[in-house]
Symmetry: C2
Subunit: 469 residues, 2 copies
Amino acid sequence: MNDSDHDITATDAEVSQIPAKSLYGLTPKVEAAIMAAVEAGEQRRVRALTAPLHSADMADLLGRISPKKCSQLLRMLGDELDPEAMTYLDEDVLEQVLDIIGPEAIAKALPELDSDDAVTIVEELEPEERDEVLKNLTVQDRVFVEQGLSYPEDSAGRMMQREMIMLPPYWTVGQTVDHLRGVSSHDNQDFYLIMVVDTNFHPIGEINVGRLLRANRPVRLSEIMTVDFRSVPVKMDQEEVAMLFRRYGMVATSVVNEDGRLVGVITLDDIVDVIDEEAEEDLMALAGVSDASIRSSLLETFQGRAGWLLLNLLTAVLASLVIGLFENTLEQVVALAVLMPIVASMGGNAGTQTVTVAVRAIAMQEFSTQSAARFALRELLVGAVNGVLFAIIAAVVSYIWFGDIWISLILGGAMVINLVIAGLTGTLVPLSLVRFGVDPAVASSVFITTITDVVGFFVFLGLAALFLL
Amino acid sequence: MNDSDHDITATDAEVSQIPAKSLYGLTPKVEAAIMAAVEAGEQRRVRALTAPLHSADMADLLGRISPKKCSQLLRMLGDELDPEAMTYLDEDVLEQVLDIIGPEAIAKALPELDSDDAVTIVEELEPEERDEVLKNLTVQDRVFVEQGLSYPEDSAGRMMQREMIMLPPYWTVGQTVDHLRGVSSHDNQDFYLIMVVDTNFHPIGEINVGRLLRANRPVRLSEIMTVDFRSVPVKMDQEEVAMLFRRYGMVATSVVNEDGRLVGVITLDDIVDVIDEEAEEDLMALAGVSDASIRSSLLETFQGRAGWLLLNLLTAVLASLVIGLFENTLEQVVALAVLMPIVASMGGNAGTQTVTVAVRAIAMQEFSTQSAARFALRELLVGAVNGVLFAIIAAVVSYIWFGDIWISLILGGAMVINLVIAGLTGTLVPLSLVRFGVDPAVASSVFITTITDVVGFFVFLGLAALFLL
């Protein structure tokens, strides 16, 4: 946050142009210039070029370049790297950066960060590095970080920040404002909410800073505080915290421990990361990918994919076993082998459509018992309607191709059955998984495609065996 | 926002219990009680039960119940419905609610909302309803809403709110605070940012309310304002606005028109909705679903699915045509028909994995030219490694099954080739689509599964025709 006295007309001239590009500090040109300077080993030029960058742009740059270049750049920057930049790094880039700069530099950077960001960074360290970093901190900082780490991963306690403004209800607006003017908050941190607490540090009200500003000096905080507020338990999962923020359009919330004491604050900007993370998790889980970063190593990527492919191989073999039951039929009517993938493929796609909508609705907590039943019924009907529609099209196409009315009827019949099954299981599988406490995003797709493959092949070849031979 | 004088000890006792449930106002019990009262036609009871609900909970209730019940409930509530509740409704529920309450009630509700929320509501109305609603507004409100509607859909102009605090740089902190105390802002709206503008209304600085609070009265705004801020052009797409907020960890931003004049403000809470919307769009597009709500009608759902299924039928027929080329081979070795879906299925899954990671990275703007090349290379390698691994497993399984070493070798070879192709096209297809200006989420999956099906069948049966006969 650079503020300073400035020349109004100059800024004015700049602003009045607003080329959309200037919104981003790290243009391709700037990036190329920095990387050329790194390549050439011109430390002074590197520092001069990176100095005006927003720490988010610096983080972006570090994430975009190769690990080798990243290490060169960091060495050239040395102390000039704004610790703030680390808070914008993705987990895997952060790990890499921390490795390069080492424990001493980390310990020096931590006190300049909010406690939640400091915890995020210390989390990434190996145990021995962690100890080394912690012992270089002041007592208060160390306590903050260690307490943060004592809460479960992905809990409110890990996300919250300890720095907050906590005042008793009998204080007046005037006292509060004078107090705030006196506080030398580290790096002029922005804040939006004042917490009002009783003598046991239980939160009893919240005051938006804007409201405080508008109130008259003699008014007591208890008169202007909002009592209709929510406090989040420190162990609440971050996913649930995010749902609360979304649901109630919250901007910040207090966090309380088991005794109801105020221990921290979570703000909406922390929630945005959680929302992004979770959207990504669901997307990747449905596609059968774990560890999804584009920066993962070859080995990590391989590990993140192979498990799902192995499972898929097993289910594909299962489908083949079903086909194997009808070897005899296939030998006699080879047209069946040509057409059978159509039935399975259509079922798989229809099932994936239903599953995806259901998984998203579950993640966004949109289902009530009633609406889930309505959803299931609707999916069943859509499956039936689509089944009949595509059965007719497929039957006509296959009749033109093979000129055999029986094959066409069998293809159409199998299609209807498979699409109805797809609509039905596409709803029931994710809803049942939730009931058994399994994340539906992770397991649903494999269930559905297995079911639609097996049913598709079995019904199509089974009908053929019955009616053709 | 209810604040009032209150009994501290009572609230204290409540808070110190913090059962996680109490975080949500709409418990299943409350919901059941309300719905029972609606059923029984007890208007007074309905109003009493819903009165303490947060407007977000009311919105949630309206979305969860059937359209018929929703209409009954709204009629019983009448004027008691807090207009704020409409701002929490999903688009399709909002449409339904607006239909029920009618233009007169809407016109009465709008002035109580922020201008961005008012625009969102008027957007949903039919043209003639829109005119009726608009003519019932005050001149200022009407101008705000009409200007909002004049900006393109999903642009910054539609999202922004017109209410903001705009002051000249030569004002002192004292003047500002006194001014703010005097302003009777509608419904005590919370605000976080003060915009400093020059005489042409060009933004030249921003002041966080917390900072204003801490400054001394004689200090001029120009001395405490942040000049390192971003203004978003009014026509910028909401997706890009969301990326800017994420990238720079912003909490609010000013919006300027073509002349660089300040016209509105966008806050982070508006961005959360955009982020959710976009995550959903990508997820649904990858699964081939348009119009994804669990509340869509049967017809809408059918329309949102059939297009993709039709496309899939065409590509499935294409795959069948490839199989048809080898009818002769299949007739002689029926084991090939049994095994061929394995090759296609593995390729399809591996391709989907790669595509999904690529699409997400593109959506989050994570790719630079360099990192895209690295990504493509890594996916190719992972495809090769997985290909070899699963080729061995599949070959062993098929040898045990059919006891034919040639079939096993052919199966393995086809698997390696198909998984390499999957890794390669899984990267190239989405990246090329972006270059041609097509949303990769929408079109990538269908390309990939078509390629892996066609290649899978062709290579497997082609190798068989070459080596087996």
